[in-house]
Symmetry: C4
Subunit: 194 residues, 4 copies
């Protein structure tokens, strides 16, 4: 099975997800600066989702760059990830239109958690296929990061559920930003290889 | 004629179809858990359609991976498949918004059947081009699976038409799940080749 | 300049155009067969547009398969074609929702004509770049077909404008179907090359 | 890291942005020529945005054609550009629906400026990675053009803000058209290379 077409299909789906979210920006009914300003929760929700999908794409890109082959299980773990990811536009819109209301942030945090869980599953399937002492498995040291992200996103869901949605949203932002801290082992690998 | 661009165009169309379906999830007017829960028929319809389009893409991917060349007939058989597939978002939305009403499940089952019929046509054109005793034709043993799927999807259309839409929907789920049973001849081929 | 990325971008745009047209199928407000049947003008408009965009993509594919290089003029002739093509969803929806009213069919026929005119421009630029006695230019014998299509589509616009929109629509269908008659010189070329 | 997948993802996002803008053309409620004619501000806004995104894509294409490698900073500079670009459909629709009202043209000009600023950042990161006396950096002489564009787009934002939105819009058109003046150094490079 060909990993290139899996990447191409995933790229297509992720490119569409990241772009259709912007359709949730309903054009205001008047032209005042105030009505534009009132879109701030929609903007903020969109910005975080954009970064999240961007991070997902970027991690996916790194992962399949190292992968040498794929099988049916990987194909469907990937599909599961795209399935959960496809709910981010919905969850983003619900949250943005309701200015970070408790229920909406809870759902949003649950969706993000499920995306990361399915990413973990994808990594696991790739390791199983390549063998646990393959170059792929040895290079991949990202489990800790993934586990921490799942824990913090789930924690954010709980915090939002019990009535502190804005604190939960800030926690989600911080968790995403943590992914920008360079993963040195990763970078080393890439430098070695090229 | 170049099979790569045919694959790329088909990937694009299938990626968009699978993603725009999620636009049918209209954001609820309030933020209660109840109004979210009320979306369950939309969710269930979307989930089945996602799996169905995913299976279509996955089978398409396998098929063209084995194909060595394409011609105009194959191009247009493929277009016909994408045409029918492009109605899944509409049929999914109609069915989801009307909680598996008889007429809507009938239409949905008809659309799925037409997709599989056009897939059969595509396989047939590919076999005709490669020759019936080519490696392509010998490896491809999936006819039985395709015929059974067409029969069961058509049966589901009839069951829904005569007033049992929920039984029909369950049948459609089971038919889709059956595609996950590995097709050993297929897998063998891929192992041999790689 | 790299022709592959031009093809990839055009594929993306054409895949989206062909797919978003289906969003114009508004889900009926009730579940009766009658309200589904009432969508026939929307369906017929969509079907013709799907075939038209499919033909445009297929011709584009053949054209760039033979092309060896591209320049800025070709890039922008291509953009112009995509620009006019991007109006087909709008024109299709206006025509479908108003059951082939005179004005709407006129606009639709004008849009299709402009798409083909810009395609002619694209062919012309490609011939100019490759040289008029290059292999590309010698193989390309499709001018007659393009000129006839532009004439008939413009004629359809006039017929619709002067009050016979359904005759005009039938003419547009026939003009599109004529493209399925194999262009033997084309096919020969492809056979020689492979 | 692989530049091809970065290009593919960016192509996907830009293809979707350029195409979903056309969804803002709401089908008129009646079929008169007058109601079609009344869409002229929407049409004009769309046409400029189409050209702008086309120019962005074309410049992006040239840039990555010359680039030999990418890193994480480039990936995220690119994401930032796509983020700002993803607001063009919103800003275009707001401006078109309000016939070039002052506030809407201001926002539009600001969005275009931010897109070009992030493009500048992208160029800068690519030069830093390739080294300032690499072939990439020597060939790239486009800074002046980029600085002038940012200045003129920002000037347009100010002109629109202080009450002359139509003059601002004309300035934005002229600034975009200036990009069609061939950049000879660029062209020379490409000729040399091929």
């Amino acid at each position: 099975m060909d990993k290139n077409r899996l990447e191409a299909f995933s790229d297509g789906v992720m490119a569409i997800i990241i772009t259709i979210m912007v359709l949730e920006f309903k054009v205001p009914h008047d032209t005042s600066w105030e009505s534009l300003w009132n879109l701030w929760p929609v903007f903020l929700s969109y910005a975080l989702s954009f970064v999240f999908v961007g991070l997902y794409w970027s991690s996916h890109h790194h992962l399949f760059h190292m992968a040498e082959r794929v099988n049916n299980r990987i194909l469907w773990s990937n599909m599961l990830g795209l399935f959960f990811l496809s709910f981010t536009p919905f969850a983003t819109a619900w949250m943005g239109e309701n200015t970070f209301n408790s229920q909406t942030v809870t759902l949003y945090a649950v969706i993000l958690s499920l995306c990361v869980v399915s990413y973990l599953l994808l990594v696991h399937q790739l390791r199983a296929l390549h063998g646990y002492d393959s170059k792929f498995s040895k290079t991949f040291k990202g489990y800790t990061k993934i586990f921490i992200t799942i824990s913090l996103n789930s924690l954010a869901a709980l915090i939002a559920f019990f009535g502190y949605p804005r604190i939960a949203f800030i926690l989600l932002i911080l968790t995403s930003l943590a992914w920008f801290i360079p993963n040195h082992r990763y970078e080393n690998h890439i430098t070695d290889e090229d």
